[in-house]
Symmetry: C2
Subunit: 178 residues, 2 copies
DNA sequence: CAACGTTGTGTACGATCGTACACATGGGAT
DNA sequence: ATCCCATGTGTACGATCGTACACAACGTTG
């Protein structure tokens, strides 16, 4: 039977789920594909996550935390000496220019909340965290508007394959900041 | 055998697909569910649409055209006497307050382009049409920015269940318009 | 050290899916 | 009138899915 003692089994399943979504999309997410990717038997994924929604919630939360760390590590966003619009436009450019799989993965999980109410609190927390962080540089209304505009600009790039235009992003972001 | 002569078969299948996506989401879309909804045999859906992507392209295109008609019928958007930000914020409020299924359906198909390259040209056309329409009231850069901001605000409402705030929308839209 | 509950494993069932294919039918071109 | 091909129908196959369940192993608690 060769039972494996694996105290981090649950975490490894989440990591595997994120890899699966990154490579195949949510459409390719199943208990079986995750089990194969994590190298655990089928029963193990169904034991730790009764439904796929549970698994997606865990994956979205982990993606959100990873995103928050990346944001936090970018000091320029908090430095009052920098221009906020310039900083945001530059950061978005780096993010979109990097690993496309990661960007698509995060947006796909985030947007999945549209049809899956279980994901909405996590998605809301994600957006709220980013807005809170921006609130250190501006007021709350502007912070929310910036989050909306950032999302909209990213979606235009991702959905329509229009190349990212940092100058355009900087310009319109600046308009929103009073 | 009772073969039915049905010259609008293809169109009825698209209509059925839109109803299925509206009620069950893209996850519930299959040749079989659409065939049942359209009251046609399975072979008929696979004949008219070889892949589900083909069917989604047709559905997205039809949704886009319906959306364009709704926009066009709203005269205020073109009337230079009205305030554009106020008009857009009011229109978004009506749209979001109306049939939620329709809103979710349109966004779900639109966002599906993230992972399905076949949908991207249609999604791009959708966004471009709206931007072109807005260009009659403002410049091209502002029009694109407005589309992005509208998308971002709608997503915040749909994903996080924050109630729509028309005053907030009007305010930030106004900032983008030079 | 014994009982128990958590964690892990293997397998099976019924449902659903995309796909393929053989065949029927009838409109329109010739 | 005849032929051809787009259109429509029915069925079957293999793959995959969620779910359930019986059982094994191990850590913990008493």
């Amino acid at each position: 039977m060769a039972r494996r003692y694996d105290p981090e089994r649950r975490q490894r399943i989440i990591d595997a789920a994120i890899r699966v979504v990154g490579e195949e999309g949510i459409a390719g997410l199943s208990h079986r594909t995750v089990a194969a990717e994590a190298d655990v038997p089928l029963g193990s994924t169904t034991y730790h996550f009764k439904t796929l929604d549970d698994l997606m919630v865990a994956a979205l939360r982990q993606a959100s935390e990873g995103f928050a760390k990346v944001i936090a590590s970018r000091g320029g966003l908090e430095d009052p000496e920098t221009d906020l619009a310039t900083e945001l436009a530059a950061w978005m450019g780096e993010w979109l220019a990097g690993d496309r799989t990661g960007v698509e993965l995060e947006y796909e999980l985030y947007l999945a909340a549209l049809r899956r109410p279980a994901l909405r609190p996590v998605a809301a927390e994600w957006a709220q965290d980013l807005a809170d962080r921006l609130s250190r540089r501006t007021d709350a209304v502007t912070a929310r508007a910036l989050v909306a505009l950032l999302d909209g600009i990213c979606l235009q790039v991702l959905l329509t394959e229009v190349p990212y235009d940092e100058g355009y992003a900087r310009e319109v972001l600046r308009r929103v900041i009073p």
